[in-house]
């Protein structure tokens, strides 16, 4: 396959679709849906075709594109993927297509809706393929704008507040990323010929490794914290998670899927792409804090989820808990090599799995919300016999989320715990935190089982008599592929792990300084 510009094609194809939608007539919502589906479908297909020519044995960057962009600051349009970004790229194109199909029910201002959606897809894809920090930042910010509109126009009752809170929170983080990014740039050279400064993430890793990055001690820690703030808000890591439940609850179903499935991963991806390899020393010093934050995310997120009456809110808090596993796995990077490898693989796999599982849970909650216009757990009961297909899928995905073996969630959570148990930094090991985190698993199981019991078992609430048809074919088309992938990755995770293997091995070496 001719791989010239294929990543640019993937990144900007949705935007082209979006512009076509913008140029079409206002009333023709069928056309808007069709264009959106065709373009995001094509994007998905091309990204899947990349699997054929992607060399998973290599840890180097593939499908490179590198064109000078802004000469004054030595900024390049540098794209490429490796074992870290490729799984997330696939996840993004997959979930975007699913979400577009799940959005067929939108009938208000469809033109704008699909335009913003396609712009959002371009932003997310661009982020995962950029290898220039400046470009990374540009795409990072591009995702904010469509999200603001998608929540603010098509969301629930408090949508306007949720939209602006989301925007302000994330922007607050990203401006510090801007400062840190500039600090790294100025530390990367003197600006004289032969020592040009650079934003190139790959070159920065090399400079950092060879000790030419003039950042150390307090300065490095400040830069680290600036970047960490931006990424932690996105993850969201405690204590920056407060925007998430609000945004999730107010967002329309398909947007929640993208928000949980992809946008949160931008945070963890940023940590692995930027912080780990470029500031390894500061990263190592931060690991003991990171493991505590991960533990809080896991336990606190789970307890919060348990307290919710609103199913969507519950799934939203379960995201806080699940991203905690991801952080826990990442914190293991300094342990013995096997543990580190398990932890890091678990973390990246957890990003993908959480996207699939939580995405499908949001869709399923959306299914009953569309019928009943409430998400109150107590309002239902006995749905298991009335709508068995829904019930089956709901049980399966809830079980996947709570970590039932043979489903995807188990594999990645297990790897995260395995890694963290062997993880350490200096003389402190992370065993105690891992043990505390296991409580999170228990609570997760408890609240999901409670939800299943209240919604699917017991007496049928006669109020919904006649209002509860089973899932329509369109709804099945959105949920079943996710469920299938959940099962596939649960039974045969090696398929996904192999993709990321060599890149992660390399990354662990860089962070632990053995490279």
């Amino acid at each position: 396959m001719n791989n010239f510009c294929v990543l640019s094609l993937i990144t900007f194809l949705p935007l082209i679709g979006g512009i076509l939608i913008l140029l079409s007539k206002n009333e023709n919502s069928g056309l808007h849906r069709t264009i959106a589906t065709i373009f995001s479908g094509a994007t998905f297909l091309i990204s899947v075709l990349l699997l054929l020519s992607f060399d998973s044995a290599s840890s180097s960057i593939q499908f490179l594109e590198n064109i000078p962009w802004i000469r004054t600051f030595n900024i390049n349009y540098h794209l490429g993927i490796d074992g870290l970004s490729f799984p997330l790229l696939l996840l993004t194109t997959f979930l975007s297509l699913i979400s577009i199909i799940a959005s067929y029910g939108i009938d208000k201002r469809t033109k704008e809706y699909f335009f913003w959606f396609m712009l959002l897809e371009t932003g997310m894809l661009g982020l995962f393929v950029s290898l220039d920090f400046f470009l990374f930042y540009v795409f990072w910010e591009i995702t904010l704008v469509p999200m603001y509109f998608l929540i603010g126009v098509w969301g629930g009752p408090k949508r306007e507040y949720a939209a602006v809170k989301f925007f302000l929170f994330t922007l607050f983080g990203s401006v510090f990323m801007l400062l840190s990014m500039l600090a790294i740039y100025f530390a990367s050279g003197t600006g004289l010929p032969g020592s040009e400064r650079t934003f190139d993430l790959i070159k920065l890793v090399e400079l950092s490794h060879s000790g030419q990055l003039q950042l150390a001690g307090t300065a490095a820690m400040l830069v680290f914290l600036g970047l960490y703030l931006a990424f932690a808000i996105k993850v969201p890591a405690f204590p920056f998670h407060t925007w998430l439940p609000l945004a999730h609850v107010e967002a329309p179903t398909a947007v929640s899927v993208i928000l949980a499935g992809v946008l949160l991963k931008m945070g963890t991806y940023g940590i692995l792409r930027v912080l780990y390899p470029i500031l390894p020393e500061a990263t190592r010093a931060f690991l003991p804090v990171l493991v505590v934050i991960a533990t809080i995310n896991i336990v606190y997120g789970a307890f919060c989820a348990m307290a919710q009456k609103d199913m969507k809110r519950m799934v939203a808090y379960s995201s806080v808990n699940h991203m905690g596993y991801c952080l826990l796995g990442m914190a293991a990077v300094m342990g013995n090599p096997n543990a580190a490898h398990a932890g890091m693989s678990g973390a990246v796999l957890q990003m993908v799995n959480h996207g699939l599982i939580t995405g499908s849970l949001f869709l399923l909650v959306g299914v009953i919300y569309d019928r009943a216009h409430t998400r109150d757990i107590d309002a239902f009961g006995g749905l298991g016999t009335r709508i068995p297909i829904f019930a089956g899928l709901m049980i399966m995905q809830a079980m996947a989320s709570l970590g039932l073996p043979s489903l995807a969630g188990f594999v990645s959570e297990f790897l995260c715990f395995l890694g963290a148990f062997g993880g350490s930094f200096g003389h402190t090991n992370f065993k105690i935190w891992t043990v505390i985190s296991v409580i999170g698993i228990l609570v997760t199981a408890a609240f999901f089982l409670k939800m299943l019991k209240l919604v699917l078992m017991g007496e049928f609430n006669p109020k919904w008599e006649g209002h509860m048809p089973d899932m329509t074919p369109r709804e099945l088309v959105t949920v079943v592929p996710l469920a299938v992938m959940t099962l596939v990755l649960g039974v045969y995770p090696a398929f996904a792990l192999r993709l990321m293997d060599s890149t992660l091995t390399q990354l662990i070496k860089i962070v632990s300084g053995q490279f």
């Binding site: 000469r71 600051f73 591009i142 603001y148 949508r159 302000l168 922007l171 400062l179 600090a183």
Partner: protein
């Protein structure tokens, strides 16, 4: 006398301004004509100035046997006209910005609802005179020329903001501007008197030589500079000299508000950069950085609770000047480049918002924020353009405003003792999102209760498209603007 050729553009515009005044007496009913003549005249001068950058020489100078004294990497400098007016790349860069701004403002003025019976010949003539004042200001190499230029600008500005005689707020704003303007000129002159005592001349060159050859300055010189900065600060609406701005902006006719928010600021910044590009040895960095921080913060916090768009834009323009001042604080080559980049982009993105406001308020006759309600349903194109301008003002990529902000931060970050200023600046841009997006909120999240459609006249659309083009292109392909700015200062 040969040097007069170097002042030909200014002379031409002054003559045109006088001709318009006379012409109006003979044809008082020709509203549109005067604006067209003004635009044509300004476009001619703009083309002349752009030709300077394209050919690297002042058009017409060679015919008068005048050659540049210094040419380096795109930096071109002619001998000063009469020893007082600089003719160099820096001055002409700011002249281009000012001319482009005034042309767009004349477009904005066409068909403005409060101008239906106004004497437009006088209006255009005053605009041209103000332009001449600003062109002299950015080129002043002598503080006395600067004072005269400032006065020419001030008096024209004062009459322009009180141009709607039937509305009290317009006159109130004009009088505030007049009083403050006079007062600030007084302070400026007071500073000059000490400057003369210190250097024995009123030439700017003395200060530049001093800055280049000394490591530190004594308190007297710093104090003199504080007076000069304060005098210019009124024009820039720099905190704490900003009190007049919100009332004057709200009261002035909207096209004049647009003018006030960009052109005099660009001119004053042009002169400030000439004076203080290398201020590291002048002992005023601490006070400048505090002023920059205050200007950003007061501007943004003041804008948060405004309900009138013009008032909000007044505070927003105060804050925007604050960002530019951050780059002035950074100083040196990278600081100057950042000042120029930001000023250039600011002019276009801010005028874009004004073009949108004029299109919307033509029918609604209201400048309160809800005047934008439901705009996305009435005209998606206009609503999206405004989103782009507002994102750009906030500094979100990939818009031009982000490139400007990026250049500003890139100039300040290497100076580790000014990290606090960079942090203040980024926090301010988060705050600004909140109020800029109150307009977006109205456009997209609210339904309109007023069925009137936005007004699209060719002139307004032209202005909007130019602003949009510059904002988007400068954001996505900033090579051109950054390269140009770099060549202008010859680094």
């Amino acid at each position: 006398m040969r040097q007069l050729i170097l002042l030909a553009p200014e002379i031409f515009l002054s003559a045109l301004a006088l001709a318009l005044l006379v012409g109006e007496a003979f044809a008082p009913k020709q509203h549109g004509l005067w604006i067209k003549i003004g635009v044509v005249g300004l476009v001619l001068v703009l083309a002349h100035q752009i030709a300077f950058f394209v050919t690297g020489a002042f058009p017409g100078a060679e015919a008068c046997r005048l050659l540049p004294v210094s040419v380096k990497n795109g930096w071109v400098q002619y001998p000063m006209a009469f020893g007082m007016v600089a003719v160099d790349s820096l001055a002409i860069f700011f002249k281009v910005v000012i001319l482009a701004a005034v042309i767009m403002i004349l477009w904005l003025s066409e068909g403005y609802y409060e101008f239906e019976t106004a004497p437009m010949g006088t209006y255009v003539s005053l605009m041209l005179l103000a332009t001449v004042g600003m062109m002299f200001l950015v080129a002043s190499m002598d503080l006395l020329i600067a004072v005269i230029a400032l006065e020419l600008l001030s008096i024209s500005q004062f009459i322009l903001s009180g141009f709607v005689l039937t509305r009290r707020s317009s006159i109130e704003g004009a009088i505030k501007l007049f009083l403050v303007g006079t007062f600030s000129t007084g302070i400026f002159l007071f500073g000059i008197s000490y400057y003369y005592g210190y250097f024995g001349s009123t030439g700017v060159a003395s200060l530049l030589e001093f800055a280049a050859s000394h490591q530190s300055a004594d308190l007297t010189l710093s104090l003199i500079l504080v007076f000069l900065i304060a005098g210019l600060g009124f024009k820039l609406a720099m905190v704490p000299f900003h009190m007049w701005a919100p009332d004057t902006y709200e009261g002035a006719p909207t096209p004049v508000t647009a003018f006030l928010s960009v052109a005099p600021k660009a001119a004053a910044i042009g002169f400030l950069v000439r004076l203080l590009a290398n201020h590291a040895s002048l002992g005023i960095t601490p006070i400048l950085s505090v002023l920059a921080a205050l200007t950003m913060s007061v501007g943004n916090l003041g804008a948060l609770h405004q309900t009138n768009v013009k008032r909000m834009l007044a505070y927003s323009s105060i804050a925007q000047v604050g960002y530019i001042l951050v780059a002035v604080v950074a100083g040196g080559s990278s600081g100057t480049q950042a000042v120029m980049t930001y000023t250039f982009i600011y002019v276009f993105m801010n005028l874009g918002v004004f073009a949108g406001l004029l299109m919307v308020s033509k029918q609604t006759r209201s400048e309160e924020i809800p005047t934008f309600a439901g705009l996305s349903g009435k005209s998606m194109g206009l609503a999206l353009s405004l989103v782009i301008f507002l994102l750009s003002l906030t500094g979100i990529p990939p818009m031009g405003g982000f490139v400007g902000k990026f250049a500003v931060f890139a100039s300040i970050i290497p100076q580790s003792n000014l990290l606090w200023l960079a942090i203040v600046a980024v926090l301010n841009s988060v705050v600004s999102l909140y109020y800029y997006f109150r307009i977006v909120h109205q456009m997209f999240f609210r339904e309109s209760d007023n069925p009137s459609q936005p007004f699209f006249s060719p002139a307004l659309v032209c202005c909007l498209l130019v602003a949009l083009g510059v904002t988007v292109v400068a954001g996505i392909l900033p090579n051109q603007i950054l390269g140009w700015v770099r060549s202008v200062i010859g680094s």
